[in-house]
Symmetry: D2
Subunit: 458 residues, 4 copies
């Protein structure tokens, strides 16, 4: 997953971008980058690590200009990590173009195959590079037409920021899968993945960038293009369930409230006699509140999170094993001992973490452990940008709820149903819930919609 | 403040120490160090930064041996920071001695003056160095007698770990101000500042190191000495209120439970008609639970904490100002809008942070804001190891509760009373609450107890 | 300037590459990189800095496989330095291709213009990227034909190493401007910029890669292609005069001997009555020996070089100024005092360094200072890879020898003549001496040979 | 070995110190440090590495004040390297005292034993710490008397710089073993190990700090003390032969000239029929010049030195072995092939390096190899600061010249005789040549002069 920010017409554009990335750090902790321009030169810094570590003041000072875009990224490990970090800068026939991308294309491989067969060279394994090739190849003068052409060729999820020496251009796929919002900060415009950025920099939220919109921000003001035929929106439901920050307003609703409502729904669908409700912190907290409120049960913090978890944890080789979740969470015996405990989590992926958490809670003296998940079983992988494992590894894709309960050693296990999930989220919206239903809104190349296959990623 | 750990007879002593420091990181984020011994050589690594950053695997591998002690430290900035980091190693008449210290001495300056007048040289500004000089100078063969002599000379708070090439010796001041606990891990012994270490490394909690005890751990087993006349215990109440981790068992009670109970007490002392209770995360959470439960009010997470706050935050110079607390916390409008909100925090120091938090909550639409503090007003500085500011800077030392309320712009403000605080904590214990009452349990040199002055620190 | 090395079929290919780069460090101190392959994956490390600093053992260990190429690079500062570092890896229609390049193309801009007009995108400012695009675009299956096509399109100086998952391919421009040599190390093949690499790794020198040759090294052995019409060789004379290491055998001659012979020639052309001959170390040493031997004068080390010159020298801001050459060189008074001194240097570029050296020698008491330069006046810039300044900055391009003498404050000044230079170097060779004569062997696009213009570099 | 510099009354004292250390880098490459004072605070930076790497501009800027001392150090590896780096700062009865030390004490262990038996603690393994204890313990108000007392107690070689908040105090042992010179830079005073510092910073050489002198530099000017009874000087002859920079004026003579004269002496004592003389660079160059001039033979650079030798060279594990000297030096075949070669080196320690060099020269085609050493056989270890190995490892202490010749595989081998060495150096001086003669000028504790034993170093 990734987080993006673009700043137009601000004297400290790179510093605002830095703050924005900092507020979006939860969307990607592996690498970060900012490219700025003073209308003449382009200034770039990309590095592996957390935003607060990789952008010392001297670096920010070096990133001059009123226009900047930034990017944070999480990805599985690969051979040439820094090569794949963004923003991504190219020189092409019409000058310099910079891009930052959140999302994932489903037909990148096909287009790439086509491009390389015609002689294109690729220097990264990012699907974003495919978009840049398409933009560069289209025989039109206008950048907007080139971008529109490129985006018509690709399928998938994308929230995009382009930067030239004097324009900030943002685009969102016709389904609006990943979030993208527009804000105003005095005379400056800011585009970001989530509204929590605006809270931090004290910008005013203006509106979402619309699904299928290409929005050009220049000295002449804002100009909006809608080159695509309208599609049914398919906002990613998993942003609400897990990914986004709870204080963000996403697709029109506060994430926190959706999560709390899912807790209520869960309580109605899977009530249980219990002494206490505890969340798996931090993402499980709002749902735990909703669940507890609905059943009038007390809720407490029975699991304490260590805030200093580093990225490189060294596990002792000989004598201590399987730290796993212990390095992040600890159970509070006095809260749990002798209690019937409801544990609220947002999802179960492979099941191994849940199993360890339950073991820890039971070791702390819990009498009964009832696991409640504030989403339906995750049966299908996401091809639109969330790094879920393949179906093979998703425990829910091949096991019944009872199987999973036994594996994680819970006394009971309940998920929100897909129907209840749909009722819980705003009726005016239409979400992508393919990870629960397998109903993928975007076709894979050569396949009918709704019949996904695992694309071979390059 | 500091955190310490000692490991005896473990094949991966330095790795266990590393894990222990990791669990104690909340006690000091500025620098960390581990010194180990294989019975022959001593191996040392000390550096500025977080434990997970400064101990790469190669470094841990280099710290050989079955015996190790570690230290994490927070301190205000100074000229030669690394010089002051611990553990601290000396060579003296009887070989090598290593020490790690949590606490603060009140007569270090006087003893230091005496020592230097006799020709001693000091290479750091740590009061720990005073103890080492006293140990080295006492004309006795036995290290235990030397340590006992040194500790009889010093006054103040200390939880100490000493290491020779074959022994781990731990000592705690007669008042037991700072915590110190003994655990067992198979055939190994572990001594640490808090029990959360034992949870992580799966050691068994054995008992507290007793106030006034010197405990020697060697191949021959454990041997305990009590060289001091018994004193009335004076466990630091502020460890319970703020400093320790909520999952630790401290002075016989779980921190989490004490905090929750303080919330209940607070509710009884300062009830208010409200719609919602919110904590200032993370330390205010248990008290918020207690407060809400007592008054049967809902509690929610109206403030979201950013978990990626780096140590060096760059504030934009020109256009954005006074980020202060915003970089750490954000208010959730949907939770707060139109509500009468009770905000639970553990203490008010200078008042500036509270003022910013309240401004943020009000900007998010709260109708009324009632601040409740789960401790009495902090009138007096701590001389026993907690880095509170001087009285001059403590807002409560010179302002009435009403003054403070006005300053922080709350609609109402209530503190737990000192009496209620005492009732809330275990009746069997006797705490140091000097920061609230000014009743300092340990005399300053030349002054009567209870009449503190600000010691000149060297 | 750059240095390159390729290693085929060696179990420690990346380590041999590291050693090779280390021996070639004089060809580029700014950045270094190695890419290796085990036939399956490609492993890469590139960084700014000296080879001995940027390749710790763990990094070398990570660069697995029997096949590797390495690159060191010097370049003027630019916006995105690391982006421009080599080796350079692309994915294209036929898999992965890695390249390392020493030299400079003169028609890269024209080809690039053509490529981008057809939609190509460029991610660096290296002319090497042009070659990669041409290779990728040519509609032929065979990589050799693709490479041949690409090299026929480009003009300029290039010694190239290509690597696929199982082949090492090396190519040299038809004029053979930059050096490139082939060596054997047991069952392995090594290709490198200079023979000093073979001395270090104890490889056997086999032969030069021939001008215009494309040499393919694979499991099947060596296969040589000569796709270009034969051209008159034009080996860079400045490699002999300054750039290459004196212990290398270059274009058939030992650099040291050529330099010494130039000293002899210089002595014959510009003898002087003097007490002592001193070189500007280290490049001036062999010419000083030749000069001294020819005139039967003593030669000594009147200038001492500091071997610890770092890349970032901090000049005091207030009181000490214009360190310039003093940080690198110091004059030995006892050698120089009262003497008539001949100072031998290889070239004068801007004249500022010579002026400072002469000032230093005179301050050390020299009675007369006669400067002798072991090459003709540098009138013209190099477009084939040596980072000489533009004509505007070359003092010799706009000033007479007498003007230069006055500027550098020498008592006399003599250069080797172009004719004598030609006589001095092996008669069987034909060199490029365009920097002295302006006779550029390779035409610039659209211009007749011998009428150079300053190409606009992108 | 170490290098030291002190700067008094200069607005950029730390920057001048940095430049001084840079010029003294040959005296110690392992660690460096500077401590400065503005009369109030002390500012310190010490780190492992080369001066040009460990003092970035920000660090120099942080080291404020008009008064500073610096230190570079070479030492064999140890457990706690940074702990042992200098300058060394203590707080004692009379404030703060900083010291930098070049040399080695012979009775430090005895005094340390005495000090620790009285209760002193040691935090490093530096003998300098002994001096600081003695200064702190002496019951006198005056710092000069304290220093005099301490220096009367210790025996050995020391060139010392002390710094208080307002004074720079320098002292040299009564034998004047290590060099120490005083210079003037405008209104500032500079004290340094060698005069090459003055050349760089453009200071004027005033005089040597005299053997046995304590020189106090304060706002009141210079004040000199001579608390010791006069001793026969014993300047270290090995500074001239190997250690000092050739451009330094040492003990009244230019190092370069002494070395050249030793070459002449060597030629007279061990002439040989040969075609060419080559030095082992760089220390052997002046002696090679002298040797060649005396016999009227040509001298050339038959061995080329790689200037980019890093401190951490990674030797390939499997296939290439015993790089040793090859990574630093390469032989030039064209210079050596078929020749009778005289190789001039300054000394032979273990013999292993010489053996490798000769092997390399022979492999380059030399017909005969005659090794000439510009000093007598190194029979005895140095206890006064030069890190020669113990007698056990010194090949000359247990082998005849003929044995050594055979071991290093030379055709002939000649050393300068001790008598000729004495004649060669200035007759007005009296040198310590204990490494050649075993006549140690300073007694070891409890032993008669001239009968050395290996002191146990702590």
């Amino acid at each position: 997953m990734c987080g993006i920010i673009g700043v137009f017409n601000h004297p400290e554009a790179s510093n605002i971008s830095y703050l924005g990335l900092y507020a979006l750090q939860h969307r990607g902790q592996e690498s970060g980058g900012i490219i700025s321009t003073d209308g003449n030169e382009f200034y770039s810094h990309k590095a592996m690590g957390l935003v607060s570590d990789i952008f010392p003041k001297e670096t920010i000072d070096r990133l001059k200009g009123n226009l900047a875009i930034g990017h944070v990224r999480y990805s599985t490990t690969g051979a040439s990590l820094l090569n794949n970090s963004q923003p991504f800068l190219i020189n092409y026939a019409h000058g310099t173009l910079v891009v930052a991308h959140n999302g994932n294309l489903v037909n990148a491989e096909e287009i790439k195959h086509d491009l390389v067969s015609k002689g294109a060279i690729f220097q990264s394994s990012m699907d974003t590079e495919v978009i840049m090739h398409l933009i560069a190849q289209y025989p039109e003068e206008s950048l907007i037409e080139r971008i529109a052409y490129a985006l018509k060729r690709v399928s998938g999820a994308y929230s995009l920021l382009f930067m030239t020496h004097d324009r900030l251009i943002t685009a969102r796929d016709p389904h609006g899968i990943r979030p993208l919002v527009l804000g105003r900060l005095g005379d400056s415009w800011v585009v970001a993945s989530e509204t929590c950025v605006f809270d931090l920099i004290e910008a005013e939220f203006v509106r979402e960038v619309e699904p299928g919109e290409i929005l050009v921000i220049s000295k002449k003001g804002l100009k909006s293009y809608h080159p695509f035929p309208p599609r049914k929106p398919a906002n990613c439901i998993f942003e609400h369930i897990y990914f986004a920050r709870p204080d963000s307003v996403l697709f029109g609703d506060t994430v926190y409230e959706i999560r709390k409502e899912l807790g209520r729904v869960l309580a109605r669908e899977h009530p249980v006699e219990a002494d206490i409700v505890i969340p798996v912190p931090d993402s499980g907290i709002p749902a735990a509140i909703g669940y507890a409120q609905e059943l009038n049960l007390p809720w407490e913090m029975g699991l304490i999170r260590n805030h200093y978890v580093g990225r490189t944890f060294i596990e002792p080789s000989q004598s201590i094993r399987h730290f796993g979740v212990k390095i992040k969470l600890n159970a509070v015996r006095s809260v749990l001992e002798g209690k019937r405990v409801v544990v609220i989590d947002d999802s179960i992926v492979r099941g191994t973490t849940s199993r360890k958490i339950i073991k820890m809670i039971r070791a702390a003296g819990a009498r009964e452990i009832h696991v409640r998940i504030s989403s339906p079983p995750t049966d299908f992988p996401c091809y639109y940008g969330i790094d879920t494992p393949t179906r093979m590894e998703l425990i829910a894709s091949s096991h019944s709820v009872e199987d999973i309960r036994r594996y994680i050693t819970a006394d009971s296990l309940g998920y929100v149903t897909a129907r209840a999930l749909n009722d819980a989220v705003d009726a005016n919206h239409s979400f992508c819930d393919a990870c629960f239903t397998g109903k993928y809104p975007i076709r894979f190349p050569g396949i009918e919609s709704g019949q996904p296959r695992q694309p071979t990623l390059f």
